[in-house]
């Protein structure tokens, strides 16, 4: 080892904390805003408010659309996304989320309650047709101590009108509480109902594996992930590259975004690792802000997106929606569509997060509210 390499190894420092980064950035944006140019009064003040607000209270809703491994990628055009400079608004939102994540306390369980929204399904007779969506809630209570039992539960939340327009059409139709739709069954129909099902709660099966797209991590490995963003990124990229995705390709960026989202939503990682994950997310080439968007349940939040159109017109779109009041992830959308204008929906997996965080509460069946 030559002496330059030795110096690098010996002095190898950690990356800055999210808090230090946010504070340093705020000092700079204050100076920028104070510099008095008229042009400074547009975006930066908003960014600044986000950062400051987040230090106080910032919940993020992140909708992440996970990469579909089956999606054709041969004709993708790597390099375009990789050349896009970082989007400042997205950077701010994710930094704020990292800052918040870093200061959160852990508890006995990592608790995630999420609502899956499926549909839309068309009901009613023309011209009074409207759309329904089916909602179901799933809860996970993952014990921090591997020797403790983890729990999982779910509840069917029934069907409901999709958009506001659908809601009005439904009211015009007399607000029915159930619908019989044609189906390949003995009776030739299937009954959809607004009624909620019974909630259950049961011990989770065998030890869980997290981040299956990266080859899987067990609970102990998740808890020992590096809290240094540079190291976390290097670890994830090493797994992605080993899996055959060339560095900086759409496939690689998409897997990185998807894996980080999974880590943030589904894995009981320590606060420092969660903070690092948000920081790494902010640096994924092509990640940008969508501004204020609504999640599948209609709640507004700040959208972060990684999207890509392949040469054969398949559009893949990963979205995370963050709650601007709390910096927590509110929702994750995973959309793929086809056709020149993204006209044919191939996949739409929308997940609304009711709660995601550490808790000392005893596991209970999910209510979905």
């Amino acid at each position: 080892m030559d002496e330059l390499h030795l110096i690098r190894e010996t002095l190898n420092p950690p990356s800055p904390s999210a808090r230090a980064t946010v504070q340093a950035r705020n000092r700079l944006t204050s100076a920028i805003n104070a510099s008095g140019s008229a042009s400074t009064q547009r975006h930066p003040s908003r960014s600044l408010r986000w950062a400051l607000g987040s230090a106080a209270a910032f919940v993020g809703i992140v909708a992440v659309v996970l990469a579909n491994a089956a999606m054709p990628t041969k004709h993708s055009t790597p390099g375009i996304a990789a050349q896009t400079p970082g989007d400042r608004a997205a950077h701010m939102i994710l930094l704020a989320a990292a800052n918040r994540a870093e200061s959160q306390a852990t508890g006995e369980y990592w608790h995630v309650e999420s609502i899956a929204v499926a549909g839309p399904y068309k009901v009613g007779d023309s011209p009074n047709q409207y759309n329904l969506v089916k909602r179901s809630v799933t809860a996970k209570w993952i014990a921090q101590n591997p020797k403790e039992v983890s729990w999982t539960g779910s509840r069917d939340l029934g069907y409901r009108p999709y958009t506001e327009a659908d809601q009005q059409a439904w009211q015009r139709a007399g607000s029915p509480k159930q619908w019989d739709v044609p189906a390949d069954s003995a009776t030739g129909s299937r009954r959809l109902t607004m009624a909620e099902g019974k909630a259950d709660l049961h011990p989770a099966d065998a030890p869980a594996t997290y981040l299956p797209d990266l080859g899987g991590f067990d609970l102990a490995q998740i808890q020992q992930l590096p809290p240094d963003p540079a190291k976390l990124r290097a670890l994830f990229l090493a797994r992605i590259t080993a899996d055959g995705a060339p560095p900086n390709s759409w496939n690689s960026n998409s897997l990185l975004f998807g894996s980080l989202s999974q880590l943030l939503l589904d894995a009981p990682a320590p606060p420092s690792v969660r903070a690092a994950a948000f920081m790494v997310l902010a640096g994924v080439p092509g990640v940008h802000s969508m501004g204020t968007v609504r999640d599948a349940d209609g709640r507004p939040g700040l959208g972060i997106e990684l999207a890509h159109t392949s040469a054969n017109h398949v559009v893949e779109d990963h979205q995370l929606i963050l709650d601007p009041a709390t910096d927590l992830i509110m929702a994750s959308n995973d959309i793929a569509s086809e056709g020149e204008h993204g006209t044919t929906l191939l996949k739409d997996r929308d997940i609304v997060i009711v709660t995601a965080g550490w808790t000392d509460q005893k596991p209970a069946p999910p209510t979905g509210s």
Binding site: M1, L11, A20, R25, L28, I32, P44, A282
Partner: protein, 205 residues
């Protein structure tokens, strides 16, 4: 790679800097690109606590000086914005020379008792055992360097700069960069060489 591997570097940092003259808010993009590595550079030479402040200050100084930077020529090409930022950070680090030398002293002591990174890679553990004695000497050598020589050596080692970039960062001629680097490397090699000799003798006996 340690400091530079964090993000894809945009080839357009000089353009961003030029735009920031009329659109100051563009300057925040340079922060997003380079704050992480500047912070790590400062933390390497001082401490994470120092780096929180010095890295933040670096960007404030750079922001205030952005017009001057764009005005002088020979610095508009790719890589020079980064060199300029490291130069500012290096200037700020000089104000903490005693703290830096204290750090190397502490590093020498730490090397005698334990490793200080938390890597669990087997290869690195083996390398580290070998390196403990070496690090003690390295820390002493870094402490003994003249400040100007140390700046050159560490910009090349930590930021992986070329001679030209160091020259831009420190505002000195390339020839001076070369002679300072030679002197610094000789000092470090001599310190490490004595360790290696002892090591070899121990193995040989």
């Amino acid at each position: 790679m340690l400091l530079t591997g964090q993000s894809v570097r945009s080839p357009d940092d000089a353009a961003i800097l030029r735009e920031s003259k009329d659109h100051p808010e563009r300057f925040a993009d340079l922060f997003d690109m380079y704050h992480g590595e500047i912070h790590r550079y400062v933390a390497s030479r001082l401490s994470a606590r120092h780096a929180d402040d010095v890295a933040a200050e670096t960007f404030l100084v750079a922001f205030r000086g952005r017009v001057r930077f764009v005005g002088s020529d020979g610095v508009g090409s790719v890589g020079h914005v980064r060199a300029w930022l490291y130069g500012i950070a290096t200037n700020l680090i000089r104000r903490h020379r005693r703290d830096e030398e204290r750090k190397y002293r502490a590093l020498g002591r730490a090397a005698a008792s334990e490793g200080f990174d938390v890597d669990n890679d087997d290869e690195r553990i083996a390398a580290r055992v070998d390196a403990l004695g070496v690090r003690h000497e390295l820390a002493a050598a870094l402490r003994s360097l003249k400040p100007g020589d140390r700046d050159v050596l560490l910009l090349i080692a930590l930021a992986e700069f070329s001679y030209v970039e160091v020259a831009v960062a420190l505002g000195i001629p390339e020839g001076t960069v070369a002679s300072r680097l030679n002197r610094a490397r000789r000092t470090v090699r001599a310190a490490l060489g004595s360790v290696k000799q002892i090591h070899d003798q121990a193995e040989g006996s």
